[in-house]
């Protein structure tokens, strides 16, 4: 495989003249003829073109007559909110979903019948890199790189030195220096992302060679969500080198600044419809946000840093977690505070750090003149201090499914029922029954196993476990995930009642609708520890989403 870099956007890298370019070009022309392309040779067909792509789930149109085309040598951005249809589109290309009839797909000008078979994308010259990268941390760079081939080839002996050299050579072709013997776990997140991308290219290339197809498409599905901003330039350089050679890139991301920086064109999806395909050089970030949100962008009227001036407030200072880098915020008793943002901003960590479930690297919490070092916080200490956490994962961290509702609900306070040398079962059952009625858990039967309840009732039961303890600080993460409409309303009501009784409620969620409905104050988290506070009229779904995107640069 020979690559030539005739068009490098970043001209700091010297252009290398490659031998055999004539043979390479000849081969490309031959395969073009062989593939019976529709377009004349001066105007090469788009690498991929989707026309009239629609997809419905249970009658709801998730994609509505979407047209998308990615040209050769192009880095094409795909942006849109969660639920806009981006991931569905990607999954259709991966062969995971079948679109509605009437959709058309052209790869390099050749019509391909839909739906795609799982794995067929490889033969078409498509390659995916997902957010989790698909690398095995305990293995080396070479092992990860050659994973697919080494495990399927019938070899009795693997010459590791040769493999290392091959990998080094391949990486250097893209201008990347990595030690092939290094363990992936020791690499920085950016290096890992680069490795995953180069591997995807290699796999695509070997497939292109085998099938004599012409041009490939690399689909990057939010690979940068968890990368530090400073390292991204290396990644983008690698992507440029890749795009000019044998593949275009379809780049999905929430970070609009990075999308504007690296892409040539951007397609915006909203509610399954294409809002437009724009030229990256000519569009502004605000215009993009408007297309994503669907509302005319207005500058924020009030912008505050999230620190309220009240002596009653619970003060969190300098909180450091795995994603959070020194944030501070205040929580007022009697309010419902919403924490939100896009993936990778760290807002989801806050409840777990405050409750001592995940260890904070640093941070302090001041509650009514009591001072807590969050590095020392444990769940037991938090409960003793009046801090309770309702985690997102009900089955894994909330309650144990194979045990009864009664056992689960009373676990934090079970010692209170020990009187006269035995647990007072009758009192326990009647207390649980009362709680179940109060929290409208159906059916209100304490002896049922927890896993027998429906999702909404499980969540209400989980609240019935913690709320009656009258915590000072109630932390929730995704409290209405997987919960039906009726139960959602019940849960919103319960949260507001708690706040009215003087509890400080913190709700970390990516559900913007919920944030807008139930919260008094909202803190939107962005990259680099930036937080914007929204209050009053500013709390609406569109404004929240707007801020999520604006803070990502």
């Amino acid at each position: 495989m020979i690559f030539s870099f005739p068009f490098s956007r970043d001209s700091t890298r010297p252009v290398r003249a490659q031998p055999d370019t004539m043979n390479d070009r000849q081969r490309m022309v031959d395969t073009q003829i062989a593939a019976k392309t529709l377009a004349p040779s001066q105007n090469p067909p788009p690498v991929i073109e989707l026309r009239h792509l629609s997809m419905s789930f249970s009658g709801v149109k998730v994609l509505n007559d979407v047209n998308l085309s990615v040209q050769r040598g192009e880095i094409h951005g795909l942006v849109g909110q969660n639920g806009s249809g981006k991931s569905t589109l990607i999954k259709i290309l991966a062969g995971f979903y079948s679109p509605d009839p009437g959709a058309e797909l052209f790869v390099n000008g050749v019509s391909i019948p839909l739906p795609l078979q799982p794995g067929q994308f490889r033969r078409l010259g498509l390659s995916f890199v997902h957010q989790d990268l698909g690398l095995i941390p305990s293995l080396s760079v070479t092992e990860n790189f050659r994973m697919a081939e080494l495990s399927t080839e019938e070899r009795w002996w693997i010459d590791w030195r040769k493999e290392h050299r091959r990998v080094s050579a391949t990486l250097s072709r893209f201008g990347i220096e990595l030690d092939p013997t290094a363990k992936v776990a020791d690499l920085s997140p950016t290096d890992r992302a680069v490795l995953a991308i180069v591997r995807a290219i290699e796999l695509m290339d070997s497939e292109l060679d085998r099938t004599s197809a012409t041009y490939g498409l690399l689909i990057l599905d939010e690979p940068t969500a968890f990368l530090p901003a400073t390292d991204k330039d290396r990644l983008f350089e690698a992507m440029h080198n890749i795009a000019r050679a044998r593949a275009s890139v379809l780049f999905v991301s929430h970070d609009l600044d990075e999308v504007l920086q690296i892409t040539d064109r951007i397609t915006v999806l909203r509610d399954g419809l294409v809002q437009g395909t724009v030229d990256s050089a000519q569009v502004t970030k605000e215009a993009l946000v408007e297309m994503i949100v669907g509302r005319h962008f207005q500058a924020l009227q009030v912008q505050r840093a999230g620190i309220a001036r009240s002596t009653d407030a619970f003060a969190v200072r300098d909180l450091y977690g795995s994603l959070l880098q020194g944030i501070s915020l205040d929580i007022l008793p009697g309010e419902v505070l919403g924490l939100t943002g896009l993936a990778g901003t760290g807002f989801e960590e806050v409840p777990y750090l405050l409750a001592g479930v995940h260890q904070a690297a640093a941070g302090t919490l001041m509650m009514q003149r009591e001072h807590y070092d969050l590095r020392e916080m444990t769940p037991a200490k938090a409960i003793a201090a009046g801090i309770t956490l309702v985690p997102a994962d009900r089955q894994k961290e909330g309650c144990e499914g194979s045990l009864t509702v009664a056992d689960n609900i009373l676990l934090p306070v079970v010692s209170r029922y020990f009187a006269r040398f035995r647990l007072d079962q009758r009192q326990m059952l009647s207390d649980v029954r009362r709680r179940l009625d109060q929290f409208q858990v159906r059916p209100p039967r304490p002896e049922l196993k927890y896993q027998a309840l429906s999702g909404g009732n499980q969540q209400k039961a989980l609240l019935a476990k913690w709320l009656p303890m009258r915590p000072r600080l109630l932390l929730l993460h995704e409290p209405t995930q997987g919960v039906d409409i009726g139960a959602r309303q019940d849960i919103f009501r319960l949260l507001r009642e708690s706040a009215q009784l003087g509890c400080a409620v913190v709700c970390a969620t990516a559900d913007y609708e919920q944030v807008a409905t139930v919260c008094d104050r909202v803190l939107v988290f962005g990259r680099g520890g930036r937080i914007v506070e929204l209050a009053g009229e500013e709390i609406n779904k569109e404004r929240i989403i707007e801020q999520c995107y604006m803070l990502m640069g």
Binding site: A355, E400, S402, P412, S415, Q440, S454
Partner: protein, 342 residues
């Protein structure tokens, strides 16, 4: 008044509400709970019919109930960490050390019985503490830790005994354990029964028992609910060491000697009894009454077959088979239960 849509209830609850199917569900549940007891009674009947003179004799039953009390106590030792989700493979090591300490310190060096007993129990607690240190503080899998400590203790047993069997165990102990009787059954049976009752009490009727249950089923939930998981596990491993040491004391009293090898053969039978016991009385939980019945069920089976002329290898067949069947049965039962839920 809240309107309850019965279609949202899980099917077996609906059936129970409808009354007619209620009888069926109750029967199914009780079959599961007392199935093993029924099979045990059946076994007794069968052997009783085949060999009435020997099987139903008082001597036979004294033997079954009396001498196998060691297994009952050892199984209880195992049950405590099993409830917390940890395997303790060092129980037989502790048993053998205890037994040998009685032999060496009591019989050979003629120390007073009471001090020797205290030292035995202390050795059990210490082993439990060491197991806890490696399992909880250093986060090594307790299966591996206890396998190691158990083997280590066996080495110590060989060392202090000089690879000899020591006889001449204190007659006070032998009397207290195997000779003195109440209602015709040796006292050790009652020690086993007593411990079974205590464990049952702790697991069912105390807050600690509830916390232990959660630590074993779902450590994350326990931790987030404020349970001090590390302390519970540590306590469980130390209690296991203590009770295993007690089993060793009873073993010394039963055999009247201290040998460096035979104690090790109790490991698998104890696991078999624990797992088989979890299928009965309180199915799905490692419970003490279940193990009690399971132990005697297994012994009855082996004794009966031996009286019918089977060779001693029938023991291994029984224990091995019972362990596999018990675990399979409880897996199937659990899967069936979860499949009934919508």
């Amino acid at each position: 008044m809240t309107v309850q849509n019965t279609n949202t209830l899980p099917p077996y609850v609906q059936a129970a509400d409808k009354g007619t199917a209620r009888y069926r569900t109750l029967l199914a549940d009780n079959l599961e709970r007392f199935g093993l007891v029924a099979v045990w009674v059946l076994l007794i009947l069968v052997f009783g019919v085949l060999r009435p003179e020997t099987f139903l004799s008082a001597a036979n039953w004294e033997g079954i109930l009396g001498s196998q009390a060691v297994l009952v106590v050892l199984t209880i030792a195992l049950l405590i960490p099993l409830n917390a989700g940890d395997y303790d493979l060092s129980v037989t090591g502790v048993l053998m050390l205890s037994q040998m300490l009685i032999g060496v310190l009591g019989a050979q060096d003629k120390w007073p019985l009471l001090s020797v007993l205290v030292i035995c129990l202390a050795s059990g607690l210490l082993t439990g503490a060491i197991n806890a240190l490696f399992s909880i503080v250093f986060r090594v899998d307790p299966f591996i830790v206890t396998l190691g400590t158990g083997t280590f203790l066996q080495g110590i047993v060989f060392w202090i005994s000089g690879s000899n069997t020591i006889s001449g165990i204190s007659t006070t102990l032998i009397n207290l354990v195997a000779v003195d009787r109440f209602l015709g059954i040796p006292l050790e049976f009652y020690y086993g029964l007593f411990l079974t009752i205590i464990l049952w009490y702790v697991l069912e009727f105390t807050a600690l028992g509830r916390r232990l249950l959660f630590v074993g089923r779902n450590r994350d939930v326990a931790r987030l609910s404020g349970v001090r998981v590390g302390r519970v596990r540590c306590g469980a491993l130390m209690a296991s060491g203590l009770v295993a040491a007690l089993a060793g004391i009873l073993y010394a009293g039963t055999t009247g000697a201290a040998d460096p090898v035979s104690g090790a053969t109790y490991l698998l039978p104890a696991f078999a009894a624990a797992f088989l016991g979890s299928t009965t009385i309180a199915p799905g939980k490692f419970n003490s009454w279940g193990s009690f019945i399971a132990t005697y069920f297994l012994i009855t089976g082996i004794t009966g077959l031996t009286l019918l002329g089977a060779q001693t290898y029938v023991q291994d067949l029984f224990y091995g088979g019972a362990l596999v069947l018990a675990v399979t049965f409880s897996q199937l039962a659990r899967r069936y239960e979860t499949s009934r839920i919508p």
